[in-house]
């Protein structure tokens, strides 16, 4: 099946959602009603974060159920961005610790971009081997990657930390990236599922034409799978961006190797019984999510659209 037919069918599929089955008024009310409820339930806690981020931490609980910010201030955001002085921060119920926002932000960007690019590239190559190429033991080797999904993450932190230390990579950005640089079991699984579904006749034709597999991979399979690869990259990027425990162990010793999530960890509880700096914490969470929100707004159609474009099949 050629690309043209594929596209045609995709558009037909979209029509299907519009017209095939007649919708009664009742079903419409049910459908749009449900969607509204889902959107509200999804958005409300995020609004709550915003409302808290704009409140004054110290007196936040003088009105714990107010829907509007309590004693409105931008102080939470200022603290998260490292713009307030120590004294200002403490006065608003924040932490006395400092945040070097721009440095941490750049570290996060470096780690996540390199990690995502390498991880997705190597995973795509492996997925190609596990779907399009044929050899004995292929499925058994692939199953090792499925098993990797089952190893408790908490179990791997210590040995990998010691390994990174042996390599003298503690407190370096490279040490943070290394374990995920060469593969992610999920990524291989995801792309293999897709490649299995792609039409092999194009590949076959190319082989008969004398193209080697590297060229087929680069010039045929990757372009066909591009939306899926982008989707995967976004998902892996979000995961890497939010990762906390591993970069905490490996990178928190020096500012040059501290990523954003770890740097913003100062807003978590500082004493055993103390409550966190709520507004600083929520402001930090929102700010950390902004790069991804922007990504979704500007590339919204492409990203979310590529997820829809048969991520699995």
């Amino acid at each position: 099946m050629s690309d043209k037919i594929q596209t045609k069918r995709q558009s037909r599929n979209q029509e299907a959602s519009e017209s095939t089955i007649k919708r009664s008024l009742g079903s419409k009310i049910f459908g749009y009603g449900s969607l509204t409820i889902i959107v509200l339930v999804t958005l409300f806690p995020v609004y709550w974060m915003l409302r808290t981020a704009l409140s004054t931490s110290k007196t936040l609980f003088s009105d714990p159920t107010s829907l509007m910010p309590v004693n409105f201030t931008m102080g939470g955001f200022a603290r998260a961005l490292g713009l307030s002085t120590n004294a200002q921060a403490l006065a608003e119920g924040g932490s006395g610790a400092s945040v070097n926002f721009s440095l941490y932000f750049m570290n996060s960007v470096i780690v996540c971009v390199i990690l995502t690019v390498c991880q997705v590239a190597f995973s795509a190559a492996a997925a190609y081997a596990f779907s399009i190429l044929k050899f004995k033991g292929r499925d058994a080797i692939f199953f090792l990657f499925v098993i990797a999904l089952t190893v408790p993450g908490i179990f791997l932190v210590l040995p990998n930390f010691l390994l990174i230390r042996e390599l003298h990579l503690v407190n370096s950005l490279f040490g943070i990236m290394l374990p995920g640089l060469l593969m992610a079991p999920f990524a291989i699984f995801f792309l293999r599922q897709f490649f299995l579904g792609t039409n092999l006749s194009i590949v076959e034709a190319a082989v008969i034409d004398g193209a080697n597999h590297f060229r087929i991979f680069r010039q045929i399979v990757i372009p066909i799978a591009w939306p899926q690869i982008i989707t995967l990259a976004i998902l892996q990027f979000i995961g890497a961006w939010n990762d906390y425990l591993w970069p905490f162990y490996v990178g928190s010793g020096k500012p040059e190797s501290t990523v954003l999530t770890v740097g913003l960890g100062v807003f978590k509880s500082q004493t055993p019984q103390g409550s966190p700096d709520w507004s600083g914490l929520m402001a930090a969470a929102l700010i950390a999510a902004i790069p991804m929100i922007l990504l979704m707004i500007f590339a919204g159609k492409k990203i979310v659209g590529s997820i829809q474009a048969s991520a699995v099949k």
């Binding site: 995709q10 190429l133 044929k134 990797a148 966190p276 929100i293 707004i297 979310v304």
Partner: protein
């Protein structure tokens, strides 16, 4: 899958070609997952507190585990979490995916659905811990306003379902979008045929959508189930395993045993048990997955 070309190609093996393709991934897998994993299996037969050399003790950790009520409790508690979390999440995600397919093409709505996934587990847990607080949480304030009895979200009975639902909130959009992708791939002709037959919404869903979606659902389930079994962050910032072990899942127990009690050998044994269990489940699921590959073959 009876592709004659593929069948013909089976004669020669692509193994040498495959090596450079899968090499980097295999190195990454071996160094950072398999070798530590195998070492973990070895450690599960030892007494080990990380500051002294591991001492081989045979099956002692495993006999202890089988007799340990806390281990069995962790098994049931984790299963309870996985069943509630995966059950509700999958059904809801399917529902949302179908709604999106049938009623809206708006990418804004799809973006909103994915929004909770952009925040880390820790933040999500803290926000919901507050919203569900018995005394000053918004949910109970609303109940109270309508003179409905307040609800304790974190008793020994309700804590695990509450945590499972919090994680549904974070992950359901992500799952829904994966399923939505699968829905988009179902050919329109099938729906046309159903419409001609006069099938209603529910029957169309049950007899067309659901069967054709099975491979996608199976893939989604492998990913979400293996992740769900390892639930950690949300509990670590809220109930920390309590009340009375009610939320002490495998990961929490492993973390407590290893870092809290310094019993890395025993913690390894519990981890191995979890890995074996998950591998069996994943194996069954992938079998199911490939068995259904043909359902959607073109």
């Amino acid at each position: 899958m009876a592709n004659p070309v593929v069948a013909k190609r089976k004669r020669k093996s692509d193994f040498l070609t495959a090596l450079p393709f899968m090499g980097p991934a295999l190195i990454g897998l071996s160094v950072f997952v398999l070798i530590p994993g195998i070492r973990g299996i070895y450690l599960s037969f030892t007494e080990y507190n990380i500051f002294r050399a591991p001492k081989f003790i045979g099956l002692d950790n495993y006999t202890r585990m089988i007799a340990d009520p806390v281990f069995w409790n962790a098994l049931w508690v984790t299963l309870e979490y996985v069943i509630i979390n995966i059950g509700i999440q999958t059904v809801l995600a399917l529902f949302i995916a179908v709604l999106m397919q049938r009623y809206t093409r708006s990418t804004v709505i799809r973006g909103i659905i994915l929004l909770p996934y952009l925040f880390s587990n820790v933040i999500v847990a803290l926000v919901w811990y507050w919203l569900t607080d018995y005394n000053l949480g918004l949910i109970n304030s609303v109940l109270d306003f309508f003179s409905i009895d307040k609800f304790t979200f974190f008793s020994d009975v309700t804590a695990m379902p509450t945590i499972a639902l919090i994680n549904v909130w974070r992950h359901v959009g992500y799952t829904a979008l994966l399923i939505f992708a699968g829905l988009q791939a179902i050919p329109k002709d099938v729906y046309d045929a159903a419409a001609v037959d006069g099938a209603g919404e529910w029957r169309t869903f049950r007899s067309i959508t659901l069967p054709l979606l099975r491979p996608v659902l199976a893939f989604v389930m492998v990913i979400t189930v293996t992740g769900s079994f390892q639930i950690f962050d949300t509990i670590a910032v809220t109930t920390k395993g309590g009340p009375i072990h009610a939320t002490e899942t495998f990961s929490i127990l492993i973390s407590k045993t290893a870092w809290g009690n310094n019993e890395f050998g025993y913690a390894s044994a519990i981890s191995v048990a979890l890995m074996v269990m998950l591998s069996i489940i994943a194996f069954a699921q992938t079998k199911l997955l490939s068995a259904n590959q043909s359902d959607m073959d073109r």
